[in-house]
């Protein structure tokens, strides 16, 4: 009886370790965005992004605090928070997705793999399906997730973010997003 219990307990431990795979995490990931118009270039950086990746399933999660985006002008930052993102109502933006071709990523072999991540991006209270092309770099216990900045763009109107007519010349409808998060095995 005792042995059976011990063996089954051991089996559970092994099984759970196997099933969960390795989880990689960070809380200091970097996300930047860019808005380019002929009138004005706007960019902001958030270097407090929380991100996690489960290697066995290829599940990826991001959580971004809107007010942590830093701008080159304080007024821009205020307008971004108060008028565009309404961070009082929607303090966070999240992404949950899976690596479409997770099987080709060898988490125990150092190297760079071109992947695309499909998932749901929630921003300004609106959730949309997005596909993010990018690459995964494995270096020992460290995994770096990088998006392809030129290919990952969101449209403001998809997320119900309104630009007043008088500012339309300064704020682009298409916002490029760049993700660069270095995760470590937990």
């Amino acid at each position: 009886m005792k042995k059976i219990i011990l063996v089954s307990a051991l089996a559970f431990i092994v099984l759970s370790a196997f099933k969960a795979g390795n989880v990689y995490k960070t809380s200091t990931g970097v996300i930047k965005f860019f808005s380019h118009t002929n009138m004005e270039d706007i960019d902001a950086t958030n270097n407090q992004v929380a991100a996690a990746l489960a290697s066995s399933t290829g599940t990826v999660e991001f959580s971004v605090t809107i007010n942590s985006f830093q701008f080159k002008k304080a007024l821009m930052q205020k307008h971004f928070q108060e008028n565009y993102m309404e961070s009082g109502k929607f303090p966070k933006s999240t992404f949950k997705g899976t690596i479409a071709d997770n099987s080709k990523v060898k988490y125990d072999v150092n190297g760079t793999y071109t992947v695309s991540i499909k998932g749901k991006l929630t921003m300004h209270g609106v959730t949309k399906d997005v596909t993010v092309p990018g690459k995964i770099t494995v270096a020992g216990n460290k995994i770096t997730l990088e998006s392809d900045k030129d290919k990952f763009k969101v449209k403001l109107k998809d997320y119900n973010i309104k630009v007043p007519a008088q500012n339309a010349a300064n704020v682009s409808e298409d916002i490029s997003i760049s993700v660069n998060c270095a995760l470590t095995k937990k």
């Binding site: 009886m1 005792k2 219990i5 011990l6 089954s8 307990a9 559970f12 431990i13 099984l15 759970s16 099933k19 969960a20 989880v23 995490k25 929380a50 991100a51 996690a52 990746l53 489960a54 599940t59 990826v60 999660e61 959580s63 605090t65 007010n67 942590s68 830093q70 701008f71 080159k72 002008k73 304080a74 007024l75 930052q77 205020k78 928070q81 108060e82 008028n83 309404e86 009082g88 109502k89 303090p91 966070k92 007043p164 008088q166 500012n167 300064n170």
Partner: protein, 298 residues
Amino acid sequence: MILKNNNRIKAASFLVAAFAFLQVSAQGDTSLLGDEPAIVEKVQNAFKTTRVINLPSTEVTDAGVFDFKINHRFGALNTGAYNAFGLDQAFVRLGGEYGVIPNLMIGLGRTSVDKAYDGYFKWRVMHQTSDNKKPVSVLLYGDAIYRKATFSFPVTKTDRMAYAAMLIIGRKFNESFSMQITPAVVHFNLAPAGQKNDQYALGIGFRQKITNRTSVNAEYIPVFGSDGTFKSSISIGCDIETGGHVFQLHFTNSNGMTDPQYIGRNTETWQSGGIRFGFNVSRVFTFVDPSRFSRNSY
């Protein structure tokens, strides 16, 4: 021995149960990130600009930012049709504010009322936080003016000086409503015959947003220590934000635009029609990249 075995079995089955539970909860927990710490932030944007209307608000010009201020007051409504109900008259103040370091700003200006020059500072001592551990913002404010206007009798330079000191206690209650209480003391080195040099006031200011970019503002500044010659200032207006500008349009019974003047030298009342239309225009220019200052401090 049997007892011992039983204990072991119990311990082992507890372990199994615990692992089984962990396993289930690991699968049930859809978030890989787990529990994230609650965000604690300094509460920003209680007001659109550094003034409620006349009264200094809980906002401080951001570090490295210059805010150009144009204030304008027309004449009073009760000056009659001959003066186009006040529109023929004009009082102006041109000034600027600069955020020296986070939480500290200074300002300078000149107004046509008494041809006065003014200089002031505002220092945020405590900043309201989103977790309500600091439920209010507390600021200190000091202003000095020098009245250059010709007096009908000889006066010294000291006589021309007047001062205001305020304690600003304000809270942003939610995204749209903010309120502040502002005890103030005003000191004129030279007071009219029969008047005290010191006057006390308790300013109250409100902001209610209508849209993200517009709000209704109101302020009431009851003044004490006067024999009734000087009246409390009451103003109501709206803020309109357009990109880098904030326009404040309002009706007020004060024509002074510096703190000692609108608090302590206000002779008109709303009841008698001493109401005037006025506006403030604020335009900000960023001089220094905010990353030069410490994070999230603006």
